[in-house]
Structures are given as C-alpha cells and as structure tokens.
Symmetry: C2
Subunit: 157 residues, 2 copies
DNA sequence: ATATCTGCAAAGACTTTGCAACCGC
DNA sequence: GCGGTTGCAAAGTCTTTGCAGATAT
C-alpha cells in the first residue's frame, strides 16, 4: 500500500531520520506481505531485489516500523519473532496450524469480556493479553487422513 | 513433595537412567518452588547447596522432568523459558503482573468453550492453546499511586 | 564392568551493538 | 559537510551438544 509507505516516510521525517534506499525497499517488501513474516524471511525477499542489503538493516528497519506503529512483533514461542502489519487498529488473536504453520487472525468480544472478569476476580487490571490457539487447519486434517503425520512444507515463513 | 521425587526416580529407572546426586538435588529444588522458575534461577538455588553442579545439568534435568510429566515449560515471550510443576493435571492459563512479575494461574471453562467455537468457525481443530493476561496486580497498583512508574524488585525468578 | 552422567567449553539460533566507511539532506 | 546510516564482525542471551573424565548400578 502506497499509503503505508507514505506514513513510514512521515515517521522518518518527523523523527529526524532519513529515507534511505534500504529502508524504502525493506518497508515496501514488508507491506507487500499479507502474513506474518520473520526478519530472516523478509531479508531473503529484499535480498532478491538488492543483494547488498544486510540482515542487520532489516532488523533495524523493522524496529523503526514498530516505532511508526506500522508493525507488530509477535512471539509465538518458536524462538524467533514474526512481524505483522499493524494496519488494523483492532486487537486480534491468532489461530495457528501446528502442521503447516498457517496463521489466521480472529477477534472475539465475548472472550475478552470474560478475560476482564477473570482479571477483576484476581485483583488485576489487564493491560494487554495474548491468546493463541494451536491446532490443525482443514487442509492439514485432510492431508493427515492417512495418519502418516508427515511434515509438509511450512508456509508463511 | 516426596511423592514427586519418587515419581521422578521411577521415571529414571523405567528409562534405564541413573538417579544421581545432581538429579536428586535439582529435582528437589524444583519441587520446593511454588512458582514459575527459570533454569538459571533454579541453578542458582542448587548452587547454594552444591557449588559443583553445572547449569547444563539443570537444563538436562529439567528436560527429564518434562519427559517424566512432572514439569511444564512455558514461554512468556521474555526470551527465556520458565518451568512450573505439572502436578495439577488440569489445564490452566496465566495472569502476569507486568510490574512485579507475579504470575497467577487460573482456569475458565467459558473461555475455553468460546475458543472451541472460534476454532470451529475457522475450520480448525484445537490441540492446545495459550492465554496470557498481562496487567497490574493489586499491590502494584497501590505502589504506583504516586505515578512514578518505578520498577520494583522482580519476584519469582 | 560398563553404560550412563557430569561439567567444561564450544557451538547454535536469534538479535543487538561497535565501528569505520558511506550517503541523504 | 554534517549527522544519520549501512554492513561487517563481534558480542549478547538462552539453550544445546561434543567430549573426556567421573559415577551409579
């Protein structure tokens, strides 16, 4: 989206930072994704366009995108972080296929209301929460009909 | 609990492994905790009793405790893993004070039922889930009445 | 006796930082 | 030209692994 690219440039200017070739390219590649992506995977994508860009710059640009409010960093307990667009202001949670790695976002007000109730009972005030559901998506249940448990190629990395 | 210590020994025997001084000590120290503890923190505790024990052995023993079904490993997205007793067979989730680090466990059937519903709608079958609520506990809200945002000593490490 | 263990050091995975050369503005 | 930026290498954090000497059964 050109819009996001523009917002990113605005953030850079406002912060007294520079719009470099690398930052433009990395941000463009990030906005072109429509899923959760790791720094490494994003690096591989921009590497295809410009071999000279370093992984370190990808990390630094992702940090800037977070500061600009354009990216969120997620830890799904796999060791590495995945980044997603922060375009939708609405909070959402994640359903993750433990077989193929597919990630689907969802939101559910009823669950959130119950969370508030739980927190109140425990004497806490919620600042934020993390809800992750892990399981098999429809496709992977179909694949596993033979019961082999064979690992498929992992998507969305 | 002597009972857990015994179960651990049983697991070792059944697996053809040995009940060493280090494993006994580490397991005992682990069972003596009543909170979530990191490998490093557990190491410091056993170090107090026996300076010769290495951090590596703590990691290896925690792995054995997991295999024995006596410990669970949790990733709260802080970089390092925390371990808890697996005594209660029931699943539970966590409410974590973002100020003092206190962790309270809870369970809520209504939330779990709603999770199932969400998954069904998305075409997934849930295998497991992770729900973490982050916020301020009663004590920390009281401490923060001055609004200093000062960091207290972190408990339960 | 012998197969398993331990502790050290080293490696591995992921991310951040120091630094000299580089480049927007 | 100045100050921010880049990419390399190196460091940092957490955890695992290789190996030679030690130990439980």
């Amino acid at each position: 989206m050109q819009n996001k690219q523009h917002k990113f440039r605005q953030h850079l200017v406002r912060s007294g930072l520079k719009a470099t070739r690398q930052r433009e390219l990395i941000a463009r590649a990030f906005f072109a994704t429509n899923t959760h992506i790791s720094a490494e995977a994003l690096y591989r994508r921009v590497s295809g366009r410009d071999r000279r860009i370093g992984l370190v710059t990808v990390y630094r640009t992702l940090k800037l995108l977070k500061e600009a409010g354009l990216a969120h960093e997620r830890q799904f307990g796999e060791g590495r972080a995945l980044f997603e667009h922060a375009s939708s202001d609405r909070h959402h949670d994640h359903m993750i296929c433990s077989h193929c790695g597919k990630i689907v976002e969802f939101e559910n007000c009823e669950i959130e209301a119950l969370q508030e109730e739980v927190a109140r009972r425990l004497g806490f005030t919620i600042q934020y929460h993390k809800l992750e559901l892990y399981g098999r998506c429809k496709d992977c249940r179909a694949d596993a009909s033979g019961g082999t448990g064979r690992i498929r190629a992992v998507g969305a990395r």
